[in-house]
Symmetry: C2
Subunit: 636 residues, 2 copies
């Protein structure tokens, strides 16, 4: 199917037309929605729900309210806008494209190497900060507002935050300390769309009376309909003259605004209370429906306003109804999900904690079967981890879930404090490693091993397939004497990694592939797949590469290691992580401590992890099978 988008010239035409301001902005916003929809479908993933709920606010800021249209994006006196949640960036990109700030070839390459990052990155024109991890925006906006004052530059700072995002504690640090720091050139705007990830906020952690809460922190609070441009103008005008207090504007919005079946409450009632348009590209049928609905709406408006016909341009040809990997391949999260429920039936002490990622982390079945032992903490990782600490002190076995990049870092001190109490807690770092790489560096976890590795009593394990995932979780629940951190890959593996007659044994791995010319040790579904691909390639060149799976990342059995490395004077270690603190370092220590003379060549991510498709990004970092085969041969 050919899909089209609206080229920049059409936005310029509308912007220069003699339409009344409100009609003009409404039209531009819907045109941006159309482009965002196309952009995300082409990318294959991205966040539509909040791109759409925030669209009118952001269009109003860029087209009417901020001085960027006059002074440009590099002027130090410019007004600053950024979104703290960041995942609504496809919507922002469509506006920056319409304004000529982002070039077309970038705009049509969302979540591709060399294109636009899945979450904001300052390397892209018009992006003021890096975001994607929640709750940092008000603080950062404050820093910018203070910098403007110290530098004697003009310009105001507008920070958009989500409503669910307000569950992160850092927001309240930021709200509380703004006044003495006198950054009154800052306005925080809440995109209050009432839905976080896939459920209503009120069902996760109710925020209560938000206005009253924010006012109790000393802020001036205003509210308006975030889809009504007249109200937006009035309220921004009203806030402009408040100069003795920081300002907080609550915009009531509708998640998915603009496409009928993506708007709540309909979107919720259509799908048993779950909102399914938060992240991910729409399926083909939904895409065609939405595409046509938006296009018809635009055509009708153009006709109603007596504008010349809307011109579209080719964006991409989409392969409809292609088979998706996640429907056919091996998925460690579903194995984790099944085993968790199985174990909980007999281990009554298991309590599962979640920070608003229950779907992604495979916790829905547990929640359904054991609602009283499921604790939904909202987007509040620190609170979650300390709750787990309290539970563990009183004899329960908490299993704490979040994306690795958030859990290992945001709650690091809480994890440490729990560890000093010598209890046992199982931390599950989902989404660990380089892949999926579409969301970009805010979501790619390259440091989780090193953030847990410094604990004195924590075993770190990454299973490579469904079977091993179940074995690892069972071992952690039934056999581990100390804290455990399990790394899980959230994407399905393109290869079912076979382990015949495999038994999980502490500190030991297993050989996946025979070989005598070289040895590579790795772990997890993503990198073992690449290692095996390298082995296949090298086999064709009569070079036999032995591939070894070692799920134990910081506890290695010496005898097993000696056996598996016998006859090799060098070994390759393939990390799904930075080299720092990962398996290679554990092996170097083992070699040094035991006077084994083997050289280690580590393949790992260097620099910031790139954004793109799995293949693009693995290649970029030289970690795909082809690159690995080449790099291994270089050491022949």
């Amino acid at each position: 199917m050919e899909i089209k988008f609206i080229p920049k010239v059409e936005f310029e035409r509308i912007n220069c037309s003699h339409l009344p301001k409100t009609q003009k902005l409404e039209l531009i916003a819907d045109m941006c929605r159309f482009n965002t929809f196309v952009e995300v479908k082409k990318a294959g993933s991205g966040h539509l729900g909040s791109s759409f709920s925030a669209m009118d606010i952001v269009v109003d800021l860029y087209y009417d309210w901020m001085n960027i249209k006059d002074v440009g994006i590099d002027n130090p006196n410019r007004d600053i806008y950024f979104s703290s949640k960041g995942h609504d960036v496809p919507g922002l990109y469509s506006i920056l494209y319409a304004l000529g700030i982002i070039p077309e070839e970038k705009f049509l390459n969302l979540r591709r190497l060399g294109g636009l990052d899945g979450h904001p990155d300052v390397r892209n024109p018009g992006c003021e900060v890096n975001s994607g991890s929640l709750g940092m925006g008000i603080s950062k906006g404050k820093g910018i507002a203070i910098a403007k004052k110290l530098n004697n530059y003009g310009g105001r700072v507008f920070v958009l935050i989500g409503d669910g995002e307000l569950q992160e504690g850092q927001n309240f640090e930021a709200l509380q300390s703004l006044i003495p720091q006198k950054a009154c050139n800052l306005t925080v705007i809440m995109d209050h769309n009432k839905i976080q990830s896939d459920r209503p906020i009120a069902d996760i952690i109710d925020l209560g009376n938000i206005a009253r809460k924010i006012e109790s922190f000393g802020w001036y609070v205003a509210q308006c309909d975030g889809h009504d441009f007249e109200q937006l103008t009035d309220v921004l005008q009203q806030l402009k003259v408040i100069n003795d207090k920081p300002k907080f504007l609550i915009c009531n919005t509708i998640k998915g605004k603009g496409i009928s079946f993506m708007e709540h409450p309909k979107a919720l009632s259509d799908n048993n209370g779950f909102y399914k348009w938060h992240s991910g590209a729409p399926d083909d049928d939904s895409f065609i429906l939405g595409y046509n609905e938006l296009l018809d709406k635009l055509k009708n408006k153009f006709s109603e306003y007596n504008l010349k016909t809307l011109k579209l341009k080719h964006a991409a040809t989409i392969d409809l109804h292609r088979i998706r990997l996640k429907n056919i391949a091996e998925n460690v999260v579903s194995a984790f999900s099944e085993e968790l429920v199985d174990l909980a039936r007999t281990s009554k002490d298991i309590v599962v904690l979640d920070a608003d990622l229950s779907g992604d982390c495979g916790l829905l079945q547990f929640e359904k079967e054991f609602p009283e032992r499921f604790i939904e903490c909202g987007i509040a990782e620190q609170d979650m981890v300390s709750i787990a600490g309290g539970l563990a002190l009183h004899g329960l076995l908490p299993i704490v879930n979040s994306f690795g990049v958030f859990l290992a870092s945001r709650a690091n001190e809480q994890i440490y404090t729990n560890s000093t109490e010598r209890t046992k807690i199982i931390y599950v770092c989902h989404y660990s490693g380089l892949i999926p790489a579409g969301p970009g560096k805010s979501h790619q976890s390259m440091r989780d091993i090193s953030l847990f590795g410094g604990l004195h009593n924590c075993t770190i394990i990454e299973p490579c397939n469904s079977l091993e995932t179940k074995m690892v979780l069972s071992w952690c629940v039934n056999n581990a004497k100390e804290n455990c951190m399990i790394r899980l890959a959230i994407s399905p593996s393109p290869r079912r990694i076979l382990q015949k007659d495999y038994k999980l044994e502490f500190g030991k791995g297993n050989e996946l592939n025979e070989g005598s010319d070289a040895l590579i040790i790795s772990y997890g579904p993503v990198m073992l797949n690449e290692a095996l691909t390298a082995s296949d390639i090298l086999k064709d060149e009569n070079f036999s590469l032995k591939v070894v799976n070692l799920p134990w990342l910081n506890k290695i059995d010496l005898d097993w290691f000696k056996t598996i490395t016998e006859g090799f004077n060098k070994i390759f270690v393939l990390e799904n992580h930075y080299a720092y603190g990962a398996l290679g370092d554990a092996i170097l220590n083992l070699l040094n401590d035991n006077d084994l003379n083997i050289k280690v060549i580590t393949f790992s991510v260097k620099g910031l992890p790139e954004c793109g498709t799995p293949k693009e990004v693995l290649q970029f970092h030289g970690l795909d099978g082809e690159s690995l085969a080449r790099r291994i041969k270089e050491f022949k």
Copy 2:
């Protein structure tokens, strides 16, 4: 001078007396204050101000309100009390001693190896959680409250928090999410003494109307005078019948309550607005004054109530007016302080950020000279780091300060996000390493290198003396192209480490001591002092140990390294950190990458860092000069 304390039998006598309840509790609280005062003086450090402000509340809970006195401290149906701030634990210990829960020999050994930890540790009887890092208590109390419900155990949970502590964002995560988790058997009590560290809260980050703020989170809020036992009884009775909401009690208290010159507002006006009794033992003159004031008060009350004379028991003999190390020895913090001001006079882009530790971190002079470039963030490390991110994006050079154990972990994700923006920020981890060891594991930073080490663009450096501290800071400001993390030791060094004609060069260290029998590489004032001590000891045994200072912990110059290690087939590396991710690992990587065949023997902290005097704790971990000399000889 001989100092005495009140033995347990005297508490039992008063508790069994026929005094009216209020008089009895008041008397017990003052007796506990007396013992706390003695306990802290004997220890040489500890937090008196808030031990005293919270004393009446905690005495009321243990002696009147909680069921522990009836069911004991191991009964799963017991009421739970703990302090989230934790540093008021000397006060709690005095109560637990009076109740017979903590034995006398432990009680008289605060902050000593085998005695009582400087911050609560569950290994000590009566301590329910580990605390000392702020802001985790409500979350943890919630976990315990939920565990009680899941386990079908009775008992209520009382969590004491500080008022300044409310600046930590995690509190609001915890406040916000309590209701859906239905932990209504939880009561949070705020020791509202209005002073944090050394200044009034209102001067740091004003909390505004606390009751209104907490109510906006859906809590039932009550207030009372925290020094009035009748009011405490009334209000706890009132809260007991509230079972549909979590409860928050604001107790208005006076920091230092019980000793006239330690009570604010007098204590503030006596000392130019600074409160000097937050932490640290009183100087000898103040101790004698306070000791006599408390004792006179008790004697008068005993006489007024017609009680038999108060019997005291020998606690210790104190060496009055001994010379304190900090007045004579080399102190890297003061060098940092001086250089910071010097650099800021020419580098106008320097902005200094603090999280309520300006005195300890040597920032007072900067604040005084450059008030507009000093940003006091309160106890809100995450907010501080993200503010720094915003400042750096707009051309300023933020220098971010806190204790390493807090900064590196609490704000880890914010530090990472800043690093992805490719700006330059200088993070200063004060209080890094094992010493001082009195405050215990919540304050001893054994993981900061590994928490920063995973950043792709951060240079980590620890200077060993005043000279090098100045050079390092100057290098970071003027020469570094990327983020820097500077580790500073907060305690003075017992040895002035000499470095003749020393120039700081990137990646290179220097020889402090010639030697040919063995080589030890270390960094920082604490461990280099021990290494030099080992060298002195070994010299007497005709064994010459070469001691090398290497301040660059993750960037090592290969040529320099080859030269310095020439002739050695093994080297010793001495870490003031866990081995994981520290200098030894950097050296192992260097050796492996460059095919150098040298064995590394690392001496580092293993397990949790112990609490005690520097000597005790260095010995415990085998890191004092004597132990090192012995351990090195074992490898002869």
